[in-house]
């Protein structure tokens, strides 16, 4: 399987290298992607939970902010 590409720009020599990720870079890339997806799902779940809670309380988001303010 082809791995994603990585570009490295050497600020000292201005040399730019674009190559396939090596194994450790690819492992980190996949890990980052998994973490990002988990983080996104967690944030979406929080939004859903918040809406459900407001619904149960029978108040709007603006009213909730007023209570907490």
């Amino acid at each position: 399987m082809t791995k994603p590409m990585i570009t490295i720009h050497n600020a000292e020599t201005d040399e730019i290298i674009t190559r396939e990720m090596n194994n450790s870079e690819y492992t980190q890339y996949q890990k980052d992607k998994t973490n990002a997806e988990a983080e996104k799902a967690e944030n979406e779940a929080k939004v859903t939970q918040k809406a459900a809670l407001l619904d149960r309380l029978g108040i709007t988001e603006a009213e909730a902010k007023l209570l907490l303010g």
Binding site: T7, Y29, D32
Partner: protein, 236 residues
Amino acid sequence: MATTTNYGWTTPDDTALVKDGASAIRTLGTSVDTTTKNLNPSTTLGDIEYRSSTANTNTRLGIGSTGDILTVTAGVPAWAAPAAGGQTTITTGSVPTNAATFTISSIPSTYNDLILVIDDIQYTADEGLRLRMNGITTSTYNSFFITTNSNTISSSLAADNAYAQYLRNASDLRNIWFFPRYSQTGAAKTGYAVGTEVIPFGGFANKSITAAINSITIFNNGGNFTAGTYTLIGVK
């Protein structure tokens, strides 16, 4: 004896004798050689010349030190270190359009602060722009941002991540990231990000990075970059 118009080299008269030809050519050659050397006194790689107060005689100026700028001292050119507060473009380039990650490596530690200007960066899918310093992947980055969208303002915090985040919203056409005292060793590394549209201010810190920042890696978990440019600036 006749002379040339510009440099006054001596040439034979029309009535000069043929037997004196060798001597005349030698005299002319010596004059040409002397004038050429006076106009081109360079001896070393990087030398440049400028006109001296003597006509047809240039002065050699040897190359300065790395980071020096060309300035004027007592009416002549001279190399000098930039004054405090001066900015120097370290490097600039286009965001690679066939890669998901790009790193600016071998960042010199000769400046006090770094500024990274990112213009109109785009990617195949927007999962947010992320950043690492010195290739550190441990979960030691803390980030925050303040966002203003329409008439609302909100903020977010993210602690102990493997990257700094909240650096850019897709609507922000220009982002400027500051790395104050990036070359100071023994001190935690911090930074802040300024965007033009949605994220007016964000910040990040990593207390476990105490070495000078010598590389900055930028990536997006959504896929390859599709457009954008970057400029890395050093501030004295």
